[in-house]
Amino acid sequence: MQATQIAGTGIAGYGASIPRMRVRVTEIARVWGKNGEQTAAGLGVSEKAVAGIDEDSCTLAVAAARKAVLGAKIDPQNIGAIYIGSESKPYAVKPTASIVAEALGATPNLTAADLEFACKAGTAGIQACMGMVASGMIDYGLAVGSDTSQGRPGDALEFSTGCGAGAFVIGAKDAIATIDGTTSFTTDTPDFWRRQHQEFPRHGGRFTGKPAYFRHVLGCANALFAKTGFKASDFDYAVFHQPNGKFPLEAGATLGIPREKLATGLVTPFIGNTYSAATMIGLCAILDEARPGQRILAVSYGSGAGSDAFALTVTEAILEEGRRPVKRVWDLINENKTYIDYAVYVKHRRKLKSM
């Protein structure tokens, strides 16, 4: 466990992208001979977002990052670092971050890299940017979590793996939310992995709860409280990594955070678990409605395993014209969506072997 309090860093801009297509959990259950209603209720997920055939974690990252840079009101040339967290990279070797940098017009004077830590690589990027901003090495850094999450056909994961991206511009000036503290909690916990050249991940089944998700999320949140002096009741909103619709509610209940404070950032029931993007899209949804002075607790979780926790305070700058994206996260979730059946879903996710 380690904690850092980095003075003066904050979120300058944020953005999320969620693809338009949805497949219902009941439809996936129909194909695999499971009880759809029961499966959906068991997971707390009713439908999930599906990226189109011309979308991948790179295009979703670009869409989210463009919104974040627009809201930050900065010249992309002032971005000194770009980190893309993903476990579904379009290339095994060739950084998505370089493509995002080019698409933003941030090249060539910046550092860029892709990060991998199951579902928490995006928040690891936020911490890297915070350190670089605080040290004066860069003016602004961009951290993106983007995934077109993968689940083997018929596997329990397939019911919940969604697609989406969340992006944050981290800077020291004109922050819409200051980051008051961050802590990480990391152990070697083999609850989820994907070996080299394998298409789909494997997981520890029922062991992914208590010794994995809850140990890290709760351990990290408590470490943040211990180091910063905040209590759970100090926060007006909270967002936890959300592999399903139930785990984050249980984590909240254990910490004494009521459901109302979790509702805004709980997006997995409607778009699925977007892996690296999950906590970040939830945080975007909270920033869409939080008022100046309100405090936010964000705790990510990545299998393998680790958590990053952040304490944020919203500033007056969030009320300035153009600092929030035009479309709110909940608009992206609810508007312009198209339902597809399982057959169209496997086509778009390239799960048909003869394609």
Binding site: R20, G52, I53, D54, E55, D56, C58, T59, V62, A63, R66, P90, Y91, I99, E102, A103, G105, N336, T338, K347, M355
Partner: protein
């Protein structure tokens, strides 16, 4: 299908950020980039310029018999988009409900995969448009 790597590489500014050019002599914008202004000829002076990222749908068609590399996307919309500065470009129209794909519809640029060069080759990314 095999695509030329230099072709993908060289067109990155054009495809990612709609970078064309403008003749400083007569003010005409061009996309894609040109070497000579057809109006001013040797008196023309072309400089790089970003095109606006929004426009209106000038014309469109629906492609049912797709060329190689686009088979899995058919049927799809192909449109001529008139950008805010009057420049017209050909682009796929994606993520748009059928009732919104009409002449005069407002459209905005999105970043998508255009094609991938077989299993091991390069992925070409670039602009497509969607209705607002």
């Amino acid at each position: 299908m095999h695509h030329s790597l230099p072709l993908v590489w060289r067109r990155i500014p054009e495809r990612y950020n709609l970078i064309g050019c403008k003749c400083e002599t007569c003010g005409t914008p061009y996309f894609p980039d040109r070497k000579i202004c057809p109006k001013c000829r040797r008196k023309g002076k072309l400089v790089k310029q970003k095109m606006p990222k929004t426009g209106t749908l000038y014309s469109f068609t629906r492609v049912h018999a797709a060329p190689s590399g686009f088979e899995h996307e058919s049927p799809y919309w192909l449109g001529i988009v008139e950008l805010g500065n009057g420049v017209r470009i050909l682009s796929q129209i994606v993520d748009s409900p059928e009732e919104k794909v009409v002449i005069g519809a407002s459209v905005t640029m999105v970043f998508r995969r255009i094609y991938a060069d077989a299993e091991e080759g390069i992925i070409a990314y670039g602009y497509k448009f969607k209705t607002i």
